[in-house]
Symmetry: C2
Subunit: 372 residues, 2 copies
């Protein structure tokens, strides 16, 4: 990749071509500090999920702020993070199949002086991993992934989880580190009571499973769960050891609706240009499906009230004047707070790190598209 | 970029890691041939939209099959296509603002022995372009972009379009090539009668505008419109000179619903692995929001009946057994026909071109993420 960054540092936001992904460095650093301060007095530790930001530099910042290591969702992301110097990685997902297991063994060898763990939810996968680590001469930690109500991956709580844990204990080369119980189905429920009840139901399934294993003589080092929508409740549970929250570092419009901005602020935005003003009722900007995802709703215009973004297709966004104080001018630049940080970041190759309206740094999103 | 492709050519589909974007070369080539055969006897010519595939090699294939040149939606895509050796490019969009106009001038210089055109819908943009081409010592063709009912960009039909055309004629360095009237709002209406009526309403607005200009003494070289959902009707209009259809080359599940598969077949799929089989009612595959877009609906499992893909989040897809003959096995690979080719292709760096189950070629999607 050519390094165009040399010509970009020092530009003002107004000089950045669009659409571009901006990272407000002050806001991001305040988010890091707020999370560090929150965890300073807690027994559980933070293992932030880097599927959100996909940038090794931000993982290093999180570790410097006290995180014990990181989470990745995909093996490809973990490879990028290891290449970026991160040495303690939990892949919060099942790694299945010949090609991926082979790559996982190479990653385990690369991290032999660090820590690497994956999740399992199926006996055949446990066997596949155990055979592979023996053949490769490496060791691997595993967490039994428990379905706590998300109904995606994960073994059923209780006895099925116990049986899988026993299989891991019997499997040469594998070390049972603990349980994962990701309550993804709770995370962005906007009603706080509803979210809390869903969290408590999920947590009780994980806790019962932990107690069952304890009664059966299996002690676990880690109980790993949680996200940005639930971490405050999770750390109050004495059995929780590890929290996987990730979105807090940049935030998005959806999480702002869910948890407010008292602790974390929206640090991420998409810079866009008003490229057409064909009508008194709306304007058109140059950011559509290919640069802003809509899976959690429409983006919001930052700092301008009375404007509604609505669909303009793959490469355009339409901005309806609902109760706006003025009309946009052709060529004007606006910032959009996206509804979902993870999927939007995955569309971009770099962050423009901005402070006081000036580009201070350009960071590669090295994990962009690393979905294998 | 490292060339891993050398190690990939010759692999079987089963050996490709997932998620991966597959292109069935036989189907794609049949689509190219079918479109070429359709246009062979027509007065209008095909200028395929490459916002869909974003790969210069596929643009070359389209031109070799008779297309006169190509369309791009973004300046960044046009730069990639020019770099890939394409010399006749219409940017079907407004290019607004200092940074982009500067880049456009460099592209115009690069294509000075070829053909380059952009669309305009605002007097200020016409002035901006005219001043820039004079300063740069280049020439530029423009099409007046007419709003034919999509209500996105585009000047109003009739007198406003006439006035803008007159301004272009007065503007040094600019050449008025014609009108564009993209009927994007008609394209994927599944009811054929409804789609046809919407198309006819849109076309009549463009035609009236062309006639008005003619009465005012302005002859136009091009009337450019159309897409994969409307091109068969557009070519029956004697005034239409240029057709912008693009999706036909790879197709998707949405267009299959709209126009069927009698002329074009779905050549694109996402290869995915069954990574969890936690329940008798569903399985989980490794392709979610970050590898398959959902803006036109859910993907379909290729060649397997009775399965329903439903949301599993950013990195997972859930597959419900509705009326399936069997259950998926852990580690099994499946192909998903995506609902929207354009936005899904934009998530990938390469196509695996497959014939008879073997990777014959790996093509870079050089325009991926080129949204500026």
């Amino acid at each position: 990749m050519e390094n165009h960054n040399l010509h970009t540092v020092g530009l003002t936001v107004e000089e950045i071509d669009t659409p571009a992904l901006l990272l407000d460095l002050d806001a991001m650093e305040r988010n890091l500090a707020a999370m560090a301060s929150f965890f300073a007095s807690k027994k559980a530790t933070l293992r932030p999920h880097t599927k959100t930001h996909k940038a090794p530099i931000l993982a290093h910042r999180q570790i410097a702020a006290g995180a014990r290591g990181i989470c990745c969702q995909k093996l490809g992301e973990a490879e990028i993070m290891a290449q970026g110097g991160i040495t303690d990685i939990l892949i919060t997902n099942e790694i299945v199949g010949r090609q991926k297991v082979r790559r996982l063994m190479h990653l385990a060898r690369q991290l032999r002086h660090g820590r690497l763990a994956v999740c399992v939810d199926h006996p055949a996968n446990v066997n596949e991993l155990s055979e592979a680590v023996q053949a490769a001469g490496v060791r691997l930690d595993v967490l039994v992934d428990v379905n706590v109500g998300q109904n995606r991956c994960g073994v059923a709580p209780g006895k099925p989880a116990l049986e899988l844990a026993r299989q891991v204990l019997r499997s040469p080369g594998l070390r049972l580190r603990g349980l994962q119980g990701y309550e993804g189905h709770c995370m962005v429920k906007e009603d706080e009571q509803e979210r809390r009840h869903a969290f408590e139901a999920a947590w009780s399934l994980l806790l019962e499973t932990k107690h069952l294993l304890k009664r059966e003589g299996i002690d676990l080092e880690e109980i790993s769960a949680g996200g940005t929508g639930t971490f405050e409740w999770l750390v109050e549970c004495p059995e929780a050891t590890e929290v996987q929250a990730g979105s807090y570092i940049v935030m998005d419009a959806k999480y702002r609706k869910v948890i407010g901005e008292t602790r974390f602020a929206c640090a991420l935005s998409v810079l866009s240009t008003i490229m057409s003003t064909p009508d008194a009722d709306y304007a058109v900007c140059d950011a559509g499906f290919k640069t802003i995802t809509h899976d959690q709703g429409m983006p919001e215009v930052k700092g301008v009230a009375g404007i509604e973004y609505y669909l303009g297709g793959d490469e355009h966004g339409r901005l309806r004047y609902v109760d706006a104080a003025r009309r946009f001018e052709l060529g004007e630049k606006i910032e959009l707070i996206v509804s979902h940080c993870d999927t939007t970041i995955n569309l971009y190759d770099k962050y423009f790190g901005v402070r006081n309206g000036v580009v201070e740094v350009v960071w590669d999103i090295a994990g962009r598209g690393k979905s294998q």
